[in-house]
């Protein structure tokens, strides 16, 4: 029996892509294997750890729980689109300076959640930050420096008063 496939069109990090994929293949696997965007990591394959978080039309989703064909016609954004080597996104910069990551495996997914969260909550409390991170697992940091990094990033992103 041949594996059923479908050709889909979607926008990934602002670029139109046409890919032919097995219908059962997850969005995470297609991003990683077909498009070679390996910054999106897969940690549990069932939506518990949050490592695979990307944006679908600007909203965080778990790319291991979506089939790629469900993303047809949508805009997908991954960690690779956040900043460049010369200009890190302020949230990336804050994670770096606050030691908000250790092994870095869970980090891309957390960054996608945090950038979206700070859009809606420009001045969050620590409790709100911890709530926002509730869908992510990190085994290295104990979360303390992640919380600090998010607070710092919020300060960086707020327009300077003046």
């Amino acid at each position: 029996m041949r594996e059923p496939v479908r050709t889909i069109q979607l926008s990934v990090n602002g670029q139109a892509s046409t890919v032919t994929v097995p219908v059962r293949k997850t969005l995470a696997d297609v991003l990683r294997e077909e498009l070679r965007l390996t910054g999106t990591h897969v940690g549990c394959e069932q939506g518990v750890c949050g490592a695979c978080t990307v944006w679908l039309d600007g909203e965080p989703v778990r790319s291991c729980l979506l089939l790629a064909v469900q993303a047809e016609g949508h805009q997908v954004t991954t960690v690779e689109a956040l900043g460049t080597a010369d200009h890190l996104h302020p949230v990336q910069q804050a994670f770096w300076e606050n030691h908000g990551l250790q092994c870095g495996f869970c980090t891309p997914g957390i960054l996608m959640t945090v950038v979206a969260f700070l859009r809606e909550h420009p001045a969050p409390s620590r409790e709100e930050i911890r709530e926002a991170l509730a869908g992510h697992l990190c085994r290295c940091t104990g979360y303390q420096n992640i919380v600090r990094a998010v607070e710092d990033a919020a300060r960086r992103l707020r327009p300077a008063r003046g």
């Binding site: 940690g43 549990c44 870095g104 104990g142 979360y143």
Partner: protein, 764 residues
């Protein structure tokens, strides 16, 4: 450290991070060579069964399938494993032959063009089993009624007894004897990146390259050489970016041997990446010990003697780290306390479960947990304050260097100071007052204390340091950091010796082709052992640079000093930069007589005496008596890891370790049913702490340099789990004292706490 310690001690953000925050790291599964084949492993659904036959025809005919292999097809030896002298080892088969001994044991492997096809076909492999009786309770296993390995004629893999001083005499004179049975459940390490391995055999050159998510690339190289019958020089093992290990990636695993062999047979790159479900049954688990204790004390709470009988449930096979861990628990059993008389015994027992091995702290958290619970029980028995009893038992500053009755050696320390600083910073007296006040209002605060000492840093390391003609440097290390920030720490050490800023120091690790030997990253050793080797190599390079600089400056070597990247003649204006010296070093005509071109040196550091980081932790919880829920209100730590190279990295290790300990104390358990079926299969039923559970940790340090190494560092990777696990448990049990509860085994989940309160109320 002397002159020029500009970088050591700085809170320098990590060199590793820019690529990781951009998703540009390269973890094993991110590597996708053209033509890679994928492996799915068929695993045993039984804890103990005879394999009657394996029918693979349907799987072989499935789409995309290249091969299906069983033990008979490969005839590979078991996975090489070492063990302590006298241990009855049962090395792990690469694929099961005849009998399976735990749920998850590899039985067959399917190789296909895609992972999905391999997994589809794996479901078509029909294995006929005859289920056999399983033994899962280690106490039961001690009776040898059901044998895990009949050829060993016993389930006891290793037994050790220690007797020091005069325990019988001490017990005879004791004012009181406190007795307890304390269990430490099985836990899973759960690195966020599961295991994974990619192998590529180059038939023309006869070279095997293996990328593995491992903490010990050199150990893996040597194990593969043994298992595959290849020369170690023909194997290159690379540990690329590794997403955490916590000790679980210290073992060589069957899948690593299997994938390497499949690549050799098929002549194609072959990859296997562990699913999370597999990770919970096929990766070594931790702790899994229990002990029966008697403690003899005097009226003031001084502990005179301790008797311990430990039983470790090690699972079905011995991996590289399985046997050593419970033995280490006995070695450090007296912890930071002056206990002179000890009688201890450990039995390591095979059961039909996943093998155990190193898990962050590896034997030492177990010892600390027992001891810190026992100290609290002594305090409760004598109605003394837990802090007072600890102070009375801690080794005095004058005791160092100290040799414990069980044979552990402690290099340096001031344990009482650490406790004093902790009580002061936490406001201990005020906390006790608050506790009493709130108790009167029907609220249950618990204050938990823990003092610990860790004995760590083993082995030796070689490092090479090269300064290139452009004035940049490369450091080669046999350690294999995988999240700790070791590259940054090592670059800081080298930077100070070389006068080259750390961002111009590249650190190469995790590649056996680049570095001939190494012992990896484990046991809090990377900076202490690896760093000391880097320091020595860099010092040699510096001495050579100094000679070249003196030659260029037409001065005596003695008059030339290095400051801020510039060699200068003392008392004159004449200078030459490190970069200019580096350039000259590669031009034979510009060198003084007797020097050969080049700027690369090797340094070796051999551990002659282990280091002993130590500290004291305090945890405050509130227990809800109606639900049994535990809310962590405060966490205060005082840790002493000697001289600190980068405080940012040290804090990260403490924070991560404390929260990992919290998982063990309050949440996590790999439970099995009596037939040996694991009751945890996913992260949905294995509760790793989340941001909403974790406390913000108030961290403090004392600094006692270690005399054992040129950096004065002691190591910090495991301190968090060692110190914190008992602090959390002691806090909860302190809150439950009112209900007459003296001890509960971990994890202290709401249901267990609630039941204890209910029973306490019924009795009280």
């Amino acid at each position: 450290m002397g002159e020029g310690t500009v970088w050591t001690g700085r809170r320098m953000p990590r060199l590793e991070d820019p690529k990781l925050v951009r998703g540009r790291g390269a973890f094993v599964d991110d590597l996708m060579p053209e033509g890679t084949l994928h492996v799915a492993v068929v695993r045993s659904p039984h804890a103990h069964a005879r394999i009657l036959r394996i029918e693979a025809a349907r799987a072989r005919g499935a789409p995309g399938v290249v091969a299906v292999v069983t033990a008979d097809d490969l005839s590979l030896p078991p996975v090489p494993a070492e063990g302590l002298r006298g241990a009855k080892l049962a090395p792990h088969p690469t694929l099961a032959r005849g009998v399976v001994r735990y749920v998850g044991e590899p039985v067959a492997a399917v190789v296909a063009a895609s992972r999905a096809q391999a997994e589809d076909a794996a479901a078509l492999v029909e294995v006929a089993y005859e289920p056999l009786e399983a033994v899962t309770d280690p106490q039961e296993a001690l009776h040898d009624r059901v044998l895990v390995h009949p050829e060993l004629r016993t389930n006891v893999a290793y037994r050790r007894q220690v007797r020091a001083g005069d325990p019988d005499g001490a017990f005879a004179q004791a004012y009181r004897v406190v007795r307890a049975t304390i269990r430490q459940q099985r836990v899973a390490a759960i690195p966020m990146e599961t295991r994974g391995v990619l192998a590529s055999w180059d038939g023309a050159l006869g070279l095997l390259t293996v990328w593995s998510s491992t903490q010990v690339p050199h150990d893996l190289r040597d194990a593969l050489a043994d298992a595959l019958g290849l020369e170690a020089n023909r194997i290159r093992v690379v540990a690329p970016d590794v997403g955490g290990g916590f000790g679980a990636k210290l073992n060589t695993y069957p899948e690593e041997v299997l994938v390497a062999e499949l690549s050799r047979r098929l002549g194609r790159p072959v990859k296997w990446v562990e699913s999370r479900r597999e990770n919970l049954v096929a990766t070594a688990q931790g702790r899994s010990q229990a002990g029966e204790f008697e403690v003899a004390c005097d009226p003031r709470g001084r502990i005179l003697a301790i008797r311990a009988r430990l039983v470790a449930d090690i699972g079905a096979y011995t991996l590289a780290t399985t046997v050593d861990i419970p033995a280490l628990t006995v070695r450090v059993l007296t912890g930071p306390y002056a206990i002179d008389h000890v009688q201890a015994e450990v039995a390591e027992v095979y059961t039909h479960k996943t093998p155990t091995g190193a898990y962050r702290g590896a034997g030492r958290p177990e010892a600390t947990f027992y001891l810190e619970r026992l100290v609290d029980l002594v305090a409760a028995e004598l109605r003394l304050d837990a802090a007072v009893v600890r102070r009375r038992n801690l080794l005095p500053k004058s005791a160092f260097p100290y040799r414990s009755p069980t044979g552990a050696r402690y290099d340096s320390g001031d344990y009482r100071k650490a406790l004093r600083v902790l009580l002061d910073r936490a406001g201990y007296r005020e906390l006790r007052r608050q506790q009493a006040q709130l108790r009167a209002q029907g609220r249950y605060l618990g204050i938990g204390l823990s003092c610990y000492v860790e004995v760590c840093t083993f082995g030796w390391e070689t490092a090479r340091v090269r300064v290139a003609p452009d004035g940049s440097a490369v450091v080669f290390t046999g350690t294999s950091p995988h999240g700790q920030g070791g590259a940054t720490g090592l670059a800081q050490v080298a930077a100070d010796r070389l006068g080259i800023p750390p961002d111009r120091v590249q650190v190469v690790h995790g590649d056996t082709l680049a570095v001939a030997s190494g012992m990896g990253t484990a046991g809090s050793r990377t900076l202490v052992v690896g760093g000391s080797a880097v320091l020595r190599a860099a010092d040699k390079v510096r001495r050579k640079m100094q000679r070249i600089a003196a030659h260029l400056l037409e001065a005596s070597v003695r008059d030339v000093e290095l400051r801020d990247g510039v060699f200068a003649v003392r008392g004159s204006e004449r200078t030459v930069t490190v970069a200019a010296v580096a350039e000259a070093a590669y031009q034979a005509s510009r060198l003084p007589e007797g020097l050969t071109p080049g700027l690369e040196e090797e340094g070796t550091f051999v551990v002659e005496q282990a280091t002993a980081p130590f500290g004291a932790h305090l945890c405050v919880v509130e227990v809800d008596p109606e639900t049994g829920e535990v809310d962590v209100l405060r966490y205060v730590s005082v840790d002493d890891c000697g001289v600190v190279v980068n405080p940012l990295l040290v804090e990260g290790q403490i924070q991560g370790g404390v929260v990992q300990a919290m998982g063990q104390a309050l949440l996590e358990e790999v439970a099995y049913d009596p037939a040996g079926q694991p009751l945890v299969a996913t992260l949905a039923d294995y509760p790793v702490p989340r941001a909403v559970h974790a406390p913000a940790i108030e961290m403090h340090r004392t600094v006692t340099p270690s005399p054992t190494n040129p950096l004065g560092a002691k190591g910090v990777g495991e301190a968090g789990t060692i110190g914190a696990t008992p602090a959390f448990a002691n806090a909860v049990l302190d809150a439950l004292r009112t209900f007459g509860v003296l001890h509960l085994d971990t994890p202290l989940r709401p249901e267990r706490v609630w039941r204890a309160i209910r029973e306490g109320r019924a009795w009280g």
